[in-house]
Every structure is written in structure tokens, then in C-alpha cells.
């Protein structure tokens, strides 16, 4: 029983740290808890903490609280935990298999290869071109965007708050492009815009909308606040450079 409680808690924690919606976290906890043989399962998830209470058939109640300190964007983990929990409740996966899979997911560190960041830079290129930049500006934005991703993921490995990461990324992108625009014929605004777009808090924005929709006011509002503060931080970073550069 102890071990099953740990499994349910771990699944919920993985979902929360990777930015899943609240209803998904609570639904997964309930599904896994019932499949594990508990008679009543209560889960309460917020973006910064997870509370579960599992009632065993013999009358014992197991309650656990888990504080969520760090979150990062990793949608593949959400998808995997989702299918593990479904397989577990179907009975097509044993407790040992679920344990091994969840342990593997929780140990899996984010693979930060240079290739990943270069592909991420293509997003910056696309954005500059969506807003009317030409190929050349797109490529400059893409390279700067890739460097921003390298910088932000490096900062992310140290205890640097998200807002400060975003501001630093904004300063870096604006400074690089401001410098380049002195020697190259590029539109500085369009190029900077593309390069900073790689830091868009897309996961926070979308889950905030979906949380509010399903009546999760607490996490909906706190995620909207996260998205807003990151956006303002990026803008502040860019604004600092533009002011110093005399715009």
C-alpha cells in the first residue's frame, strides 16, 4: 500500500512539474488510485503543490503533500504519464512496470543538445517572417533565437527566477540584433521580435485558458500571472537595450 501511494504521488508530481492542466492531474490521480485498489481517492492539485488522500479498503487513510518548486515545459512526459496511467487502469501494466517507467521519467533529464536549440531557432525565423521580415532577417533572427535558447536553458540550470531568465534573454537578443543592425541591412524590430518569441510562455498561456475553462480558478489565475510576468519581463529586457541604444 505504501508503495502504491508513492506511485500515485509520483505520477501527479511528474504531471505538475511538466505543466499539465489541473483536471488532468486530478483525473490521473483518481484513475490510478482506484486502479490500485483504494476505495476513495481525493486529489487536490495547484501549480505549486499537490495534496492526495487515499482511503484503503481496511480503513486506513494515506495522505501525502508534495511541494512543487520547479516547473519546466516537457509535453512528452505529460503524454507518457497519461498513457501509463491508462494502461495501469486497464490492467495491461503491472505495478512493477509502472514503477520502473515513472522512475525512468523522473530521472530523465532534459536532453539539451545544440541541435534542439538550432531547431528551436527555426521558430524565431518563422516568426520574423510571419510578421513580414525577409529570408535574411529570418535567418539572423533564427541564429539569435537559438543563442537565446542556449542562454535561457543555461540560466535555467541555476537557481535563477523565470522572470529574470526572460529579462536576460530579452536584453541579450536586443543587444545582439542592435549591434548587427549597425553593420547589416536588417529591420531591427522585426528581427528582435522573432528572436524573443522563442521565450513565449506558450504552455502557461494555453493551460491557463484551459484551467479557467474547467473551473480551476486558482491555477488559471496563477498561470495567467506567470504568462503575463514573463511577457512583461521580456519586453522590459528589450526596452532596456533600446533605451540605452538611443531609440
Amino acid at each position: 500500500m505504501e508503495r502504491l501511494v508513492g506511485l500515485v504521488l509520483l505520477a501527479g508530481e511528474l504531471l505538475l512539474t511538466c505543466g499539465a492542466e489541473m483536471y488532468r492531474v486530478e483525473e490521473t490521480i483518481e484513475r490510478m488510485g482506484l486502479a490500485a485498489g483504494f476505495v476513495q481517492v481525493e486529489g487536490f492539485a495547484t501549480p505549486t503543490g499537490l495534496f492526495i488522500s487515499l482511503h484503503a479498503p481496511n480503513g486506513r487513510v494515506y495522505t501525502r503533500v508534495r511541494r512543487i518548486r520547479q516547473t519546466y515545459n516537457k509535453l512528452s512526459t505529460i503524454a507518457e504519464v497519461n498513457s501509463i496511467s491508462r494502461a495501469f487502469s486497464d490492467g495491461s501494466m503491472t505495478i512493477q512496470e509502472v514503477h520502473d517507467e515513472l522512475e525512468r521519467l523522473s530521472k530523465e533529464t532534459a536532453p539539451e543538445s545544440l541541435g534542439r536549440q538550432l531547431i528551436g531557432g527555426a521558430g524565431a525565423m518563422a516568426f520574423t517572417m510571419i510578421f513580414g521580415g525577409n529570408w535574411f532577417e529570418g535567418i539572423i533572427a533564427g541564429m539569435t533565437g537559438a543563442m537565446v535558447l542556449v542562454l535561457v536553458s543555461w540560466l535555467g540550470r541555476h537557481p535563477v527566477p523565470k522572470v529574470l531568465q526572460a529579462a536576460t534573454g530579452g536584453i541579450f537578443a536586443a543587444a545582439v540584433i542592435m549591434g548587427l543592425s549597425r553593420i547589416l541591412a536588417i529591420h531591427p524590430d522585426l528581427t528582435t521580435l522573432g528572436a524573443v518569441m522563442v521565450m513565449t510562455p506558450g504552455v502557461a498561456m494555453t493551460t491557463a485558458i484551459r484551467d479557467l475553462l474547467s473551473g480551476e480558478l486558482l491555477s488559471g489565475l496563477s498561470r495567467s500571472a506567470e504568462a503575463l510576468s514573463v511577457t512583461v519581463a521580456i519586453a522590459t529586457g528589450v526596452a532596456i537595450v533600446l533605451t540605452l541604444g538611443g531609440r
Binding site: A20, R24, L75, R116, G123, G202, L213, S214
Partner: protein, 143 residues
């Protein structure tokens, strides 16, 4: 238009990559994103920017929900990257720039249009997703 569709695809796929969408779902996320961008471009002139973004976001959310059920994935996997090309980044940037240049009237105008565009994206997602929620609830009850 073909170039724009391609750019939308590249953009959504790249963002899917940044958010670590499972590798096998990457092209689907890209296609939905590209579709949203093209719908926005096609309807922008007739419906205005806000209307175009609203329609595009509704369609993107709709196809994300369909794909999520077909491919047994969480909706977020498709929805997050596909919505990204519709985010009013340019308007937000313009707001910041106008504030810097002491053009408060211009800043207010672009701020309001940023809020409207972001609201249109949110409204589109809410409408498509709640229709799906009602539908699946109804199916659940019937069983």
C-alpha cells in the same frame, strides 16, 4: 500563400520541439499550426484581425481536440504549438516600443489591440474545447 503555409508549419513544429512534444506527433502539431496561420491570413481582410484570429483559434482548437482523440494524446501536445503563430507578439512589441518613444496614445491603441487579439485566441480555444467537452460528456452519459 504556400510560403506562408510553410512558414506556419516551420514555426509550429519548431515550438513543438522547444516544448518537447513527443517526436512522432511533431508533424501533426506543425500541420495544425500551419492551418491556423493560413485561415488567419485568408479571413483577415474580410473579418478584420480580431475576427480572423478568433476563427483561426477556434479551428486550431477543434483540430487539436480531434487529433488528440484520434492519436490518443493529451490535447496540449497539439494545441500549444499550433496556437503560437496566432499569439499577438508583434502588437505587444509595438506597445512596448510606443511606450519607449513617449507615444502614449499609440501605446494605448496597440495595447488594446493586443488584449483584444489575445482575448480572441482565448475565446476560440474556449468555444471549441467546451463544445468537445459537452459532446464527450453526452457520450459518457448515454453509455
Amino acid at each position: 500563400m504556400l510560403v506562408q503555409a510553410l512558414i506556419g508549419f516551420i514555426g509550429a513544429t519548431a515550438f513543438a520541439y522547444i516544448y518537447r512534444v513527443p517526436t512522432r506527433q511533431l508533424p501533426y502539431a506543425g500541420i495544425v499550426g500551419s492551418l491556423g496561420h493560413v485561415i488567419f491570413l485568408l479571413t483577415r481582410d474580410e473579418w478584420g484581425e480580431v475576427g480572423g484570429v478568433f476563427l483561426a483559434a477556434t479551428m486550431v482548437a477543434f483540430f487539436s481536440e480531434v487529433l488528440a482523440r484520434r492519436r490518443r494524446q493529451p490535447v496540449l501536445v497539439f494545441l500549444i504549438p499550433a496556437v503560437i503563430p496566432l499569439v499577438p507578439g508583434a502588437k505587444a512589441y509595438l506597445t512596448m516600443l510606443s511606450f519607449l518613444q513617449d507615444d502614449y496614445t499609440g501605446a494605448l491603441v496597440s495595447f488594446i489591440s493586443t488584449v483584444l487579439l489575445a482575448g480572441a485566441v482565448a475565446a476560440g480555444i474556449i468555444i471549441a474545447s467546451s463544445l468537445f467537452r459537452i459532446y464527450s460528456r453526452a457520450k459518457h452519459v448515454r453509455r
